[in-house]
Symmetry: C2
Subunit: 191 residues, 2 copies
DNA sequence: GTAATTTGAGGACATTTGTCCTTTTTGTTC
DNA sequence: GAACAAAAAGGACAAATGTCCTCAAATTAC
């Protein structure tokens, strides 16, 4: 809860009283390893704030291959944003890589927050803008970083993901085959 | 003007009177071939609606190579969105590939529109969401389409861009070198 | 603990792409 | 129209990546 309060205070000012009231709109959710937060083709009805654990975000393309968008961990928001804002079936799949605790809010309750608290209108707009910036950053990485650079960044920023995810997941995150990932690791660790 | 009205009406309902008033917040701008709508590192102060012409959006990466994000043409909004919303220096460069006519609105005037017209708050939110969806679509293309597929889509959706842009631009849009683009064309046109 | 199964490492070869060129084509100037 | 310049096509080889394997290590089941 404390971390969530910090998270919101980084976005906008929120009083203790408002936070207390806000928190009553949220629920807690526990996922076991392998559980889905959002399944493919289901309408995403919730946004989650990760208290503890790891979520892998991925989708399955036309050739039946999994492409991993990324991994969300502690103190991050996680949702299938497009599905959530448009309340349409989700292309993205969100799955727990390990036991994960979340603070969640439903679509309707979030809209109540927007309606009842001017602060939340502000928070909502900024979160939407942040989602845009994240997506832009993601596209920029796809354009500019080699698979090796992406691997090194993952190693730096989310080293524990390398333990929790399997080779297949990491390779699909890097946009290469297992074989190439194997070669990347060889170069990094043997020199 | 008519096209712009249609564009807005597709987003939200806007009365004739509101549109008349709205249009007074906009200016017309004419770019010659090669002119910049937004230069690198300048703060983007305007959003443009293209009446006629073609804008290439690109940036220059750490290795001094140009990467082309895409090409905007008639009846599309064009801006360096991140720079515009945050009023910070732009990574993206927007340049006219041919003589281009735009309807433009300044940052301050847009905020006046938001303030004075509830309709525009709605339009603004939806445009922001659309920008997110566009960026997501862009990332999805980067992940899923081969250079050849991208070329064929360009050929289908914006065939005239292939005349207006040079090989270098198109190759950087596809994410390959000139040599590979040459091979792609060879395969497409000789079989 | 042993056997069976899953997962990661890496060999061999084919395919693709990039680099560095030269040649050809197109467009421009006088 | 000839001469020049600019842009695109494409040859030759090197480097990177994918495909299809096998083998070793780790994990799980009994």
């Amino acid at each position: 809860m404390l971390k969530f309060k910090e998270y919101l205070q980084n976005i906008s000012t929120i009083s203790d009283k408002e936070f207390e009231e806000t928190i009553s709109y949220f629920s807690e959710k526990h996922l076991h390893k392998g559980d889905f937060f959002i399944k493919q083709f289901s309408v995403c009805r919730q946004v989650g704030f990760i208290i503890k654990g790891t979520i892998r975000i991925y989708y399955i393309n036309q050739k039946d291959e999994e492409t991993t968008y990324g991994f969300c961990q502690e103190n991050c928001l996680t949702t299938s944003f497009k599905s959530f804002i448009s309340q349409t079936p989700s292309d993205l799949i969100l799955q727990a890589l390990e036991d994960t605790d979340l603070l969640t809010i439903d679509y309707d309750k979030l809209n109540l927050l927007y309606k009842n608290y001017p602060t939340w209108q502000n928070i909502g707009r900024i979160i939407t803008q942040n989602e845009f910036l994240n997506m832009e950053q993601y596209a920029s990485v796809l354009n500019n970083e080699t698979a090796k650079e992406k691997y090194l960044r993952l190693l730096k920023e989310q080293p524990n993901v390398l333990q929790k995810a399997n080779i297949e997941d990491i390779a699909s995150y890097l946009g290469v085959t297992r074989r190439t990932l194997s070669r990347i690791r060889q170069k990094i660790y043997q020199k």
